[in-house]
Amino acid sequence: MSDEFAQFNAAFFEESAEHVSAIEKGLLELEQRPSDLELLNTIFRSAHSIKGVAGMLGFAAVAQFTHKMETLLDQLRNGRITVTPPLTDVLLRATDYLKTLLDAAQSERSSDEAIAHGLEAQLEAFAMGSPLVVADVSSPLLPSPLERGPVLICAEGGQGDRALPPRRCFDISWTPPSFLFQRGLDPQKIFTDLGDLGIVTDVRMDRSRLPDLVSMDPEQCYLAWTVRLETDQAINEIESVFEFVRDDSVLTIEECAPSCESRLDAPHAPKRIGEILVESGAVTQDALNLALAQQKQIGEILIAQQVVTPTQLAQALETQRQTAPVAQTKKADPATIRVDTAKIDKLINLVGELVITQSMLSDLGARFDMTQLALLLERMTQLEHNTRELQEQVMGIRMLPIGTVFSRFPRLVRDLAGKNGKKMQLVISGEETELDKTVIESIGDPLTHLIRNSADHGLESPEERLAAGKPEQGAIRLTAFHEGGSICIAIEDDGRGLPREKILAKAVKQGLLREDENVSDDHVWALVFQPGFSTADKVTDVSGRGVGMDVVKRNIEALGGTVAIQTTAGKGTRFVLTLPLTLAIIDGLSVTVGGEIFIVPLTTINKSVQPTASELKTIVGKGELVRDRDEYLPIVRLSEVFGVGAAITDPTKAILMILESQEERVAVMVDAIIGQQQVVIKSLEQNFRKVDGVAGATILGDGTVAFILDVRGLLQVALRGDAVGA
């Protein structure tokens, strides 16, 4: 609507996204509690807000579509129609489309109008004529100002370029209501506004209603006026002066001088037919508007005549969109984050403390002698304390509650239940658990996959469940919680559990296992993460294509996390994702090899040992091994992996750090351990290139660069056998 408001677009899209998810969440809850009026009001308000602001910002498609949704919601609110599953379906699909529309508006693309028309038609149908509706529903489908757009345009076309109309004269007689002042209205304003329109040539006041002083209420208006106005403005301009009072007043506006309507010839553009008909009095403006509202787009007409199919139309529209000359998409997506003001206040507070400490230190530095060493150390400790706290708080800004991801799953489970004919409910807890924004953004897809998996493979059909003595409705539990320095997300179902025999058979068939091989349960469960592995009897829309679980695992590992499976036949399956709190800072142990310092992520360290000669063994083809309890682990010499000279070569004189990643262990040989510290991870790939066995680099206190070890990578190095001492 106005470019001046364009600066509010980003805020609008953010706010709308919240409203859309509120609508979605509300609709799902509404199915459970169809008579909850407050819930309906909440949904309605969200739609209403989007509509209002979208209109202001000129996103007409969004405003128009939301209007249709709102109309249906309003009917629900008024109790004219009731909540049914098909109705919820339509509203949910409309919500999806609204999301698409908003995305399209944000990236300045056009959206698929065929879908819009289909959905709008359905929304209207539900709003007007579900079987439960009483017949005489007075149509609430007042065309909104936006829908009347074309009419406004043709009216402008008719009046443009016309010479100034001649001055006309009106008699205006106005009797305001007695409660005029109680509505905050001021008659004086009315006269001023009339004066702005032209020249007020005569004002007469009617005092006939004025009571005697004793019975007069000074807060009531007893007066009436007659005004003669000479103006070149149209009559509706005068009417608009009285806009806020006319419904409570007695108002007549009459043209008093004979009309001198010597209209000039029609402007350059020919008049539209509707306009001519209105002018000649053959139809009213309202009737014209109504007719225009029924005008259909060519695509709709062709579909109605069954000349083309909706698919063909959609394709044609797509082609049109692609070949449109200005079809460039402009995606200005400033990555923004909303931060609780309390967090910001805390930060400012901390910065204040840091400044105080700094000024104390510089004060001390200005007149320092060795007697003040203790004081210096004390201040340094304080500085360290400040810095660490500031760091934690700043990291906290990037932390978002995981509920923002979880909120999309109730819908998913509802849709899945509808598709595969099972009964299931999703139980969510721990949604307030906070997680780094980057992790939050990447966790959605893996979680979606695991939930689909539980719904399709894990949970049984209602009949099966009843036969097994379980409640008909299956449950999927989604839980987030802190454990140590990590976040755990558990996806748990009470279904049939993983089918050990089926997985084994499949693994043998795919050549992953020999038939007679004796494998542990954990090993069997790990097989489901193999690429292309699926035991679903048939491929469904939901899952079973064998793509996914391996991707889930890869994605989680890319985030520095792990996936674990616990399953019991007949009782259910539980996947646990363990993720680091943040990706940017880790606790590490610094170690030396030769003259170099390396950082070992603390979470991967199992223990450190200095082996005796009897614990060491060399096996041809497997290289150097060390015994830890009853297991032999490969030894990786860091000095050889990274080509560092002057390192200790005798394992019994060096230190072996037993590192663990996803239940596989490796012994890494280092010279000495220096100590524990927090390090900021800097990407090596962005600044240099990928190095096997290195997760990244960090800058140490003295300014030198140190590698951060990647245990997975080192394990692979160990398994390849290169650089393994032999």
């Binding site: 609507m1 106005s2 001046e4 408001f5 600066q7 509010f8 805020a11 609008f12 706010e15 909440t42 309605f44 308000r45 209403h48 807000s49 509509k51 209002g52 602001v53 209109g55 202001m56 910002l57 000129g58 405003a63 007042l142 909104s144 100002p145 936006l146 002042f181 109680q182 509505r183 905050g184 209205l185 001021d186 004086q188 304003k189 001023t192 506004d193 002066v241 806009e243 806020f244 419904d247 409570d248």
Partner: protein
């Protein structure tokens, strides 16, 4: 001294847009997210020359707010504008009945908004 406008709307974006328009035109702006918050600001001494309120809001809606404001002696004659989406007669009538001065139909441009403002603001 510049005049103060209290803007009440649950949509932050809408409030921001109105506030932007108003400050641009030299007004002081006080904001509230719903009727209750607005009443809180009025109770603690905010004395607007004009109130602009949305109707459909959580906690306390616009109609209830207008009623409440008209009961406060210093604000009995203060102009109150309602923001509505439809030019719905029903809503307008309801607003008039409880003492609303006027209304603005969304969507509106800054110019339209200021024009309506001028209509009701005391000189």
């Amino acid at each position: 001294m510049s005049q103060t406008v209290l803007i009440v709307d649950d949509s932050v974006t809408m409030r921001d847009m109105v506030a932007f328009t108003l400050t641009g035109a030299g007004f002081q702006v006080v904001q509230a997210g719903d009727g209750k918050e607005a009443m809180g600001k009025l109770a603690t001494g905010a004395k607007p020359d004009l109130v602009v309120t949305d109707l459909n809001m959580p906690v306390m809606d616009g109609i209830t707010l207008i009623k409440a404001i008209r009961k406060m002696p210093p604000l009995r004659f203060t102009p109150i504008l309602m923001l509505t989406t439809e030019s719905s007669e029903e809503k307008k009538a309801e607003g008039r009945a409880v003492g609303a001065t006027g209304w603005i139909v969304k969507p509106f441009s800054p110019e339209q908004f200021l024009k309506v403002l001028k209509k009701v603001l005391p000189a």
